[in-house]
């Protein structure tokens, strides 16, 4: 069984916490000048998505999670599962709502996503950092509402709603940052 010591803790490290796979978000080394050293971590349970705090004594070890990230192409959604294919091996895999979560709104067929597998099964599906999507609905007016700091809402082909500049028209394609949900540019 692989283990990590607190010295190896860093953001992104995948470990087992209370029986679930979890990802370290932040690790802080805490030590009074004359006393015990601790690792104070913020850690995200990858099954529930919940982030909690946990403190370890420096030097403790924790079990590693058997987790790998693979790139897979998104194929289609059958109403229940999202289907993906490994572009090299053509191996296919289905992810459920727990794994896809809110990221469903950014997923367009053919896009390459990062799938985190735990014991070989999809645990998390992450869309590309930047996606190019068509605007399916937005107010035409250039005048728009200038009181909201500029911009207007636009609905994209995947169902996501983002704020775009007033000049963006229906039918255009735009680039969006999926991590922040912000408009980047016209594509």
């Amino acid at each position: 069984m692989a283990t990590y010591s607190t010295n190896e803790f860093k953001a992104g490290l995948k470990v087992m916490l209370d029986g679930d796979p979890a990802s370290i978000v932040e690790n802080e080394f805490v030590k009074p000048g004359k006393g015990q050293a601790f690792s104070r971590v913020r850690i995200r349970n990858l099954k529930t998505g919940r982030t909690i705090e946990r403190t370890f004594k420096s030097g403790e070890t924790i079990e590693a999670a058997d987790v790998v990230d693979v790139e897979m192409q998104y194929l289609y959604n059958d109403g229940q599962f999202w289907h993906f294919m490994n572009p090299e091996s053509y191996e296919q895999m289905a992810a459920d709502k727990n794994a896809v979560g809110d990221n469903a709104k950014w997923m367009k067929e053919q896009d390459v996503c990062i799938i985190t597998l735990w014991n070989g099964l999809p645990l998390i599906v992450e869309p590309p950092n930047t996606v190019t999507l068509k605007v399916t609905e937005t107010d035409p007016g250039l005048k728009g509402d200038t009181s909201g700091g500029g911009g207007k809402p636009a609905t994209l082909e995947t169902g996501a709603v983002v704020r775009v500049p007033l000049f963006v028209k229906e039918g255009e394609t735009i680039k969006v940052n999926t991590r922040t949900g912000e408009y980047l540019s016209r594509a």
Binding site: A11, E28, F29, G33, T55
Partner: protein
């Protein structure tokens, strides 16, 4: 600090030139402060044949081979200049200060770098309360350009826990500490849950619950530590007996640690030996005792108080930095 971007960008300092200039100004200013008070600047070796026995401190070891030690000799980088400075005091130096790099293995984080700059000074004829006065004056002086602070407050260790953690550190068992930690929303690993040593729980509650509340808008001095955490302070008899030790906090950051210095050579030897046993029990490397310090104490250490202040953390506070990297030219990962 987790991922190094590579030499093509991290050859650059992590501190801005502005912060490096601030460091230089603060160094100048503290030298003026001590010179005006007749405290002598001295230097002592960073490399020594002996090391601290404190189980909470890990010394770097290196090796010397050459004239005087043809067979080679293990030398330890000092974790603080305390022992040789006390030898100078015993030899009649009068009040002294030193600003130097010290080295601690295993310590890196937002407020820690394994080599850092310590300001350490000793005042002959002072007790720890008088030294708290002077430490407050120095820090207020050095920070005067950066922030306005109310006059310092002083809390006993017990008061700080009663006020900020809602418990009496001297009348609480390991189990009750565990409950208190849970009540404050602190979740600990299974290994820590079963921790039996009260001092480990006190350190947990101190760092997670009490410290963040200390030093808000003013310097906070904590004093009268549990006798089990005396380190090199003398112990004042009482119920319970307490260590004549203090710490200084500002913005939740531990800035300085001081003692009314233990002068009893026999008591010092007994503490060293207890610490060596604790090191052995914890599987930590054995280190040679500083017999020269013990000889100096046996000769006679003048009644004095001493304090060590983390200079990099002071620069952090003066510059509003969030991490120690922002005040070091080249921290661990760029060194």
């Amino acid at each position: 600090m987790n991922t190094s971007p590579g030499p093509e960008s991290d050859w650059r300092p992590s501190a801005t030139l502005e912060v490096l200039k601030l460091r230089a100004r603060l160094l100048q200013r503290l030298r003026v402060f001590f010179s005006a008070r007749g405290v002598l600047e001295i230097e002592t070796p960073a490399l020594s044949g002996t090391a601290t026995t404190d189980p909470a401190l890990a010394s770097f070891a290196t090796h010397y081979t050459g004239p005087r030690f043809p067979q080679g000799q293990t030398l330890y980088l000092h974790t603080s200049p305390e022992f040789p400075m006390k030898r100078l005091l015993a030899a009649g130096s009068g009040s002294i200060y030193q600003i130097c790099k010290v080295f601690r293995d295993g310590e890196a984080g937002r407020q820690h770098n394994p080599e850092f700059t310590l300001l350490e000074w000793y005042r002959v004829g002072f007790d720890h309360h008088r030294l708290m006065d002077e430490t407050g004056e120095l820090v207020m002086d050095l920070l005067a350009q950066s922030m306005s602070l109310q006059s310092p407050e002083r809390l006993t260790y017990r008061e700080s826990f009663q006020r900020h953690a809602g418990l009496d550190p001297f009348a609480t068992s390991a189990d009750e500490f565990g409950q208190a930690a849970r009540m404050h929303g602190i979740s600990v690993s299974p290994e820590l849950v079963s921790e039996k040593a009260p001092d480990a729980w006190l350190d947990l509650l101190l760092t997670h619950v009490v410290e963040p509340k200390l030093g808000q808008g003013r310097l906070t001095f904590i004093y009268d530590y549990p006798a089990s955490q005396a380190a090199l302070a003398r112990i004042q008899p009482g119920n319970p007996p307490v260590a004549a030790r203090f710490e200084l906090y500002l913005n939740g950051i531990e800035l300085a640690n001081g003692f009314h210095e233990l002068a009893d050579a026999d008591e010092q030897r007994a503490r060293f030996e207890r610490q060596l046993h604790a090191r052995e029990a914890a599987g930590l490397p054995a280190v040679p005792l500083d017999e020269r310090l013990l000889a100096a104490l046996a000769h006679g250490l003048p009644d004095c108080a001493g304090v060590a202040l983390g200079f990099d953390r002071l620069v952090m506070l003066a510059s509003g930095a969030h991490t120690i990297e922002e005040v070091l030219a080249f921290p661990l990962e760029r060194a």
